[in-house]
């Protein structure tokens, strides 16, 4: 939004708009499709492999499997958002909108979980 602030609405002619509007070539789409399919294959494969866990502290173990699965899912989602949904070629406003959505989502999840995870903590 900071970029938008202070800027007037553009009154471009459709021609200029046409030039700015980036048309993604089908080759990129095919590459993304392949990447997504490979990603799916890797997730399924990775779920059958025990990736072990990381003992951070007694009682606090981090399992790698779900983290890997989520990381792959996030990567796939990012690819879709950036290329299929043209965000990579979109305006700052579009990027900001996506960012705002992800941010609010994280606020909802994070702040709610903060309650659930700190309930078991010892009392003062």
């Amino acid at each position: 939004m900071t970029e938008e602030l202070g800027k007037t609405v553009d009154h471009e002619s459709p021609e200029i708009h046409e030039r700015e509007h980036h048309v993604v070539s089908p080759r990129i789409y095919i590459m993304i499709l392949i990447a997504l399919l490979v990603g799916t294959a890797i997730t399924v494969w990775a779920s059958y492999v025990d990736l072990g866990e990381w003992h951070v502290a007694p009682g606090l173990n981090i399992f790698w499997n779900p983290i890997v699965a989520l990381a792959i899912a996030c990567t796939k989602a990012t690819l879709v958002v950036l290329f299929f949904m043209h965000v990579k070629y979109g305006t700052k406003l579009t990027k900001l909108t996506v960012g705002a959505g992800v941010f609010t989502f994280l606020v909802l999840v994070g702040m709610t979980l903060s309650d659930f995870f700190s309930r078991a903590w010892g009392r003062w």
């Binding site: 938008e4 007037t8 606020v107 702040m111 309930r119």
Partner: protein, 554 residues
């Protein structure tokens, strides 16, 4: 020197412009199928007024019942249904759409110099969704009502009541989509439809505050929607997301519910704050003190508003550490409101103040909102919250904010923009009287409730220990006065539609773009798209304009 700024055209020759958005097309169908944001705003105005009076009648019943300690006017279950429907109607069918969907719908495009909202069909759809939801809500009320409280607390709402939770849930769900569409439309319009020269920092503060409220609508409402869907699924097929007997956590529902419903109070109050910024400036003939601070405080409220919801749950068994964080963040969200109040006060400084009705309501707003806001701090402070929450203190607090704040702001706005919307003035003297009656009645009604709450009287009680009676009698007496105060405007405003004085383009000599065109406006708002070449609230520019006009006519 006269003590008003009203500058009406010569009444003997003045005419309502022949071509305007009302006269353009005739017939009911032209209204029901309109895409014109002004007509949709009028549709909204009529419908929310209707729901306001239904909600108000229910409030009257509540106050009557509480006149005596016993539950003698109605049985407890009836009372529970009455306060539930009062809450649902007032929140979802009046407060949330009140200023945005009527005044915002009408004036945001005009203020930014656009011909319409970006998505007129979505705007109309939003009204239809609202009406569908409202009708469903009324149908629910007629066919047995619902007694969960407007908060739909699980497991009460899912397993322990036998009333129309499902249909009410659907009604609220649909109303939620109506408000999502309104908010979405505003954001798009404000981003993409501003006239040439209308930079972000030339926007009237009303637009800023509606923008902030729209962000909350778009991001918050869906979470309420999913919470209601889960409640409905739990009631119908018995899934176990919130059901403690199946391993669910009912507090999760509270989290999801308040994730929307706390920002919802900012959805309700922010547009009202926008109205106050407009009226304070106009009636003191001065640019709002610290424009940027007021603009950014709206956005700050919107952003912080998402971080504080669990302060509704301090005593509900959330973790103590969560309480700590949410209480701290609540303190932070209180600050922007304080900034606004002081900035408005200092707008008066060295102004040239007149006291027309909108200004009277504005003063009422500033006083009552200050009380409402400060008592909110009592509840955000985790220690005192233990004693004060779930009592009449909290009832008084949010009525000070919602009724004392938002409703006052709404009435200020309706009076302020009435000449623009209808082309006619409301009668000044009687409306000033109404403002005064409202203020007095309001304080009589809700101030005793602070004391009641401190004494410990719980909310949502149909009967109460007899020692609380006297303060309740005061409250009920005040409610009678308040009711009168709300009846008067509807009477004289309707009267003024036909008999009011012709208002002319700019009766208040205000600076907003909406005042620089005819009243009522044309369907496309401006004969030609305006170019904004001055700051917001630039009264010197306005004087210059007037001189130019005089020069060109003379």
């Amino acid at each position: 020197m006269s003590t008003t700024i009203v500058s009406l055209p010569d009444q003997s020759t003045a005419r309502i412009p022949k071509m305007n958005f009302i006269s353009k097309e005739k017939g009911l169908l032209s209204w029901l199928l309109t895409g014109d944001h002004k007509r949709i705003a009028m549709l909204y105005l009529v419908s929310i007024t209707f729901f306001f009076f239904i909600g108000g009648a229910l409030a009257g019943l509540i106050r009557l019942e509480l006149l005596t300690p016993q539950s003698d006017l109605m049985a407890t279950d009836t009372y529970n249904k009455v306060f539930t429907m009062h809450g649902i109607i007032m929140i979802f069918f009046f407060l949330v759409p009140s200023v945005p969907a009527t005044l915002g719908n009408f004036f945001i495009p005009m203020m930014i110099g656009a011909k319409d909202l970006a998505l007129p069909k979505i705007n109309l759809l939003s009204w239809y969704l609202y009406m569908a939801a409202g009708t469903l809500g009324l149908y629910t009320m007629m066919t047995g009502g619902v007694d969960t409280g407007w908060t739909f607390t699980t497991p009460l709402s899912t397993h322990y009541v036998n009333t129309n939770v499902l249909t009410t849930g659907i009604a609220v769900f649909i109303a939620g989509f109506s408000s999502i569409f309104t908010g979405l439309n505003f954001i798009v319009t404000i981003h993409k439809m501003r006239a040439p020269g209308m930079t972000w920092f030339r926007l009237p503060l009303f637009v800023w505050s509606n923008y902030a409220a729209s962000i909350l609508m778009v991001l918050g409402t869906p979470v309420l929607a999913i919470a209601i869907v889960l409640v409905a699924l739990e009631r119908t097929i018995g899934i176990g997301v919130f059901d403690p007997t199946k391993g669910g956590d009912p507090l999760l529902f509270q989290h999801l519910f308040w994730f929307y419903s706390h920002p919802a109070v900012y959805i309700m109050i922010l547009p009202g704050m926008g109205v106050i910024s407009e009226t304070v400036s106009t009636f003191s003939r001065k640019r709002v003190f610290g424009y940027t601070a007021v603009a950014f405080s709206s956005v700050a409220i919107a952003v912080f508003g998402f971080f504080v919801w669990a302060h509704h749950m301090f005593i509900m068994g959330i973790s103590n550490y969560s309480t700590l964080i949410f209480s701290l963040l609540t303190m932070l969200v209180a600050v922007p409101s304080a900034i606004k109040i002081f900035n408005w006060s200092f707008t008066l400084y060295k102004g040239s103040i007149t006291f027309e009705t909108p200004m009277m309501y504005t003063f009422g707003f500033m006083g009552l909102f200050t009380i409402g806001g400060l008592t909110g701090v009592f509840l955000g402070t985790s220690g005192t919250d233990i004693h004060l929450t779930e009592t009449y203190f909290i009832v008084a607090h949010f009525h000070f904010v919602m009724v004392g704040g938002m409703l006052m702001a709404f009435l200020a706005g309706v009076h302020y923009w009435w000449p623009k919307m209808t082309g006619r003035m409301y009668p000044e003297k009687i409306s000033q009287l109404a403002a005064l009656i409202t203020f007095i009645g309001f304080n009589f009604t809700f101030f005793p409730q602070f004391i009641l709450g401190t004494l410990g009287m719980p909310r949502r009680y149909a009967s109460y220990p007899p020692e609380f009676q006297i303060l309740n009698v005061f409250s009920t007496a005040g409610a009678t006065i308040l009711g009168l105060g709300y009846l008067l405007p509807i009477l004289y405003l309707t009267w003024s539609l036909k008999y009011g004085e012709i208002a002319g383009n700019n009766p208040w000599q205000a600076t907003g773009l909406e005042w620089q065109t005819q009243s009522p406006p044309l369907t496309e708002n401006f004969p030609e798209i305006p170019i904004m070449d001055h700051e917001a609230y630039d009264y010197e520019w306005l004087d210059g304009q007037k001189e130019k006009e005089v020069a060109s006519v003379g």
